[in-house]
Amino acid sequence: MNGVHDMGGTHGHGPIAPEDEKHEPLWHAPWEARMLGITRGMTYPKGFNIDRFRHIRELMPPALYLARSYYDHWYAVCVAALLNGGLATREEIKSGHAAPGSARRNDAARGDQVWQSQKTQGIFTRELTTPPLFAIGQRVRARNINPTGHTRLPRYVRGKLGVVRIHHGGHVFPDTNAHMQGEAPQHLYTVAFSMRELWGADASARDETCVDLWESYLEPA
């Protein structure tokens, strides 16, 4: 979707104002740590995945997305996942307590399982039997598509010409996975685009941006 999350090349967000690396705290408030722990440790609806997580984040109301901080986005995603998965009700979210007599589960990830689970989760490469369509060094064009659902093809590269730099093998396809329509793995490539191609004649002639793009985002050029 062409949401506010697709920020590449947009203006108006002000200076970056980084904190000094040496002094930036890991958390800017204690609740941020709790929210990270909740997000990592909670029980999600069946079939939930990282792409769905990202897509729900994108579906936040645009002004909230812009106004709220990072872990507060996670809060919004968790709440949406609970509501949409029927794991909690609006009233429960508001009150912070389970409705009297509601079911209690006993299958949440336990504290002593966390270490192992963090070591094994999140492998997104998949074996593919089909050969890659594109070769390293080949010129390709990012397709001009504007899906209303989840995609990892940023607006700023659509319609632009680039060169394949790296072939990463088969990877889970976010555009289907986010909608729980299967992993549908595709070949993944890193494609380099010159800054002039992306931003016009005033951009640097030397600089480039490399973007990881799935095969169906690309066409031969």
């Binding site: 967000h13 002000g14 800017h28 109301p61 645009p62 002004a63 106004a67 901080s69 504007n146």
Partner: protein, 236 residues
């Protein structure tokens, strides 16, 4: 005062210009020490407007009676009835219609509508095969002199974002479902040209006078989000 870098009025790009975000109780979203609540209410715009008006009066920068006159102009004198008169005339007078489509600015001169942006009007004719729709994706440009103040939805993000990428979906939300054979032409008002849609004359209006026809013409039809309906209670 938060300071952000914006190209300045004097042409010097990226000069520091004070902005008034601090007046609106919002912690800046780059300031991580603050809470980023979404339900925070901006300072009451009524109070903010009142404070600004008093200050301007004190400085002699505005005459409150002039504000009254401006409000009155748009509340009671300038509105979509003007556009409706033009549309009705075009429906009954083929020569006028031809002139209107050829050079709208000149054709509507005799109406004496004082024209905010009246000098650059383009009229777009809807037909059974072509449907025109007007938007301003970048701000809220609108033919004020002919339609008065734009409705709130015209200025809001959903319409501005979607009418160029999904005009048929937008039209369907307004109750207009167009067949695949119809060509949809969206006009994004990026300059000072102002667009007015000449809707199709509804069937069953042959016996109506120009004034009666004008009564049927709605603001939304002249933006292009609906069609003009025939008179109620009459059979086509």
């Amino acid at each position: 005062m938060t300071r952000i870098a914006i190209p300045a009025y004097d042409g010097a790009v990226n000069a520091e210009v004070s902005v008034t975000e601090s007046l609106s109780d919002h912690p800046h979203h780059h300031d991580h020490a603050h809470d980023h609540a979404g339900s925070e209410v901006p300072s009451d715009p009524a109070l903010r407007t009142k404070a600004l008006e008093s200050l301007l009066i004190d400085k002699g920068l505005v005459d409150p009676a002039a504000i009254d006159a401006w409000v009155d102009a748009y509340e009671s004198r300038i509105g979509p009835r003007r556009g409706a008169q033009i549309v009705a005339r075009a429906w009954v007078d083929p020569q006028f219609k031809a002139r209107l489509l050829q050079d709208a600015t000149r054709a509507i001169e005799p109406f004496g509508f004082l024209g905010r942006e009246g000098q650059h009007i383009v009229v777009l004719e809807n037909t059974p095969t072509v449907h025109n729709l007007v938007v301003c994706t970048l701000c809220s440009c609108y033919p004020w002199g002919l339609l008065g103040l734009p409705p709130r939805w015209y200025k809001a993000a959903p319409y501005r974002a979607r009418s160029v990428i999904d005009p048929r979906g937008v039209l369907a939300e307004f109750g207009v479902v167009l067949g695949d054979e119809v060509e949809v032409r969206v006009w994004d008002s990026t300059a000072e040209i102002r667009y007015l849609v000449l809707p199709e004359r509804p069937a069953g209006t042959d016996g109506l006078s120009e004034a009666e026809l004008a009564e049927l013409v709605t603001r939304d039809a002249m933006i292009g989000v609906v069609k003009v309906e025939g008179p109620k209670g009459r059979k086509p």
